[in-house]
Symmetry: C2
Subunit: 151 residues, 2 copies
């Protein structure tokens, strides 16, 4: 019972200290989570870019697989930018993420929308379709990084 009581107490304390990101045990985990999801997404996005830009041969199956993974990952980072996760030194996220949160949210939604279109384009199975949407999707990455991420 003592152990259970301690765990309940610990859970309550951590809920007080870190209220809005209860999905993560601690702020460091939220930072690591969003960095991890962004890194994995960038790897698969880069593989699409290599095809779109002609650095590697177009492969319809690989394009569809990578785009599906990118779309799944595009939805994940945002829940990890909760209050209390603006941890200087551990993150390149600028204070604007929290100070101008409505604009950040808008940018994230724009990105998810363009990535969803990229997934649809990749499923079409042609290099032209991929190329037609790749730049739009990449533009939303850059737009958000320019405004909300330290160089």
């Amino acid at each position: 019972m003592k152990v259970v009581a301690s765990l309940v107490l610990a859970a309550s304390l951590s809920a007080v200290a870190f209220p809005a990101a209860a999905q993560f045990a601690k702020a460091e985990d939220a930072v690591k989570y969003r960095q991890s999801t962004m890194f994995v997404m960038s790897q698969h996005f880069g593989r699409l870019g290599a095809m779109a830009n002609g650095r590697v041969a177009f492969d319809a199956k690989a394009a569809a697989e990578n785009a599906a993974i990118v779309e799944t990952l595009s939805k994940l980072p945002w829940a990890a930018f909760g209050p209390g996760t603006d941890m200087e030194g551990n993150t390149k996220a600028l204070p604007a993420v929290w100070k101008d949160n409505a604009k950040f949210k808008e940018a994230s939604e724009k990105m998810m929308g363009e990535i969803a279109k990229l997934n649809t384009a990749a499923k079409a199975g042609t290099l032209d379709a991929l190329k037609a949407q790749f730049g739009n999707a990449g533009g939303t990455c850059k737009g958000c990084h320019d405004n909300f991420r330290a160089k």
Copy 2:
């Protein structure tokens, strides 16, 4: 043309230095990629565990969403354990991953199979179905970590 020639040369050199994991620009990226996918997976798996173990209330929608993400991620790390990525100091992966690769591959396939079943179970929408499969899935994580990952 000079730039193109340099890029082609750079691509050939990196292919020589790092042949079997051509999807990654360098071995460090492969290590970071597999650690990132494992970390993201562990966060979502942990949320299923919290429900299965009664630490948080069962939520059928959240369970289905988390299990789908876990299944997607369960397929990703393996391509990043290529030759030349056994980088001491950067990874907890034991030499057995490469020395006993057939067994490692078997363990990874067992894990993916049990995670797929977990996703099916989560979609059933009941706590009992989730609980019935959660332990089997977790057992395959542990089994592989015991044999192939430093403590």
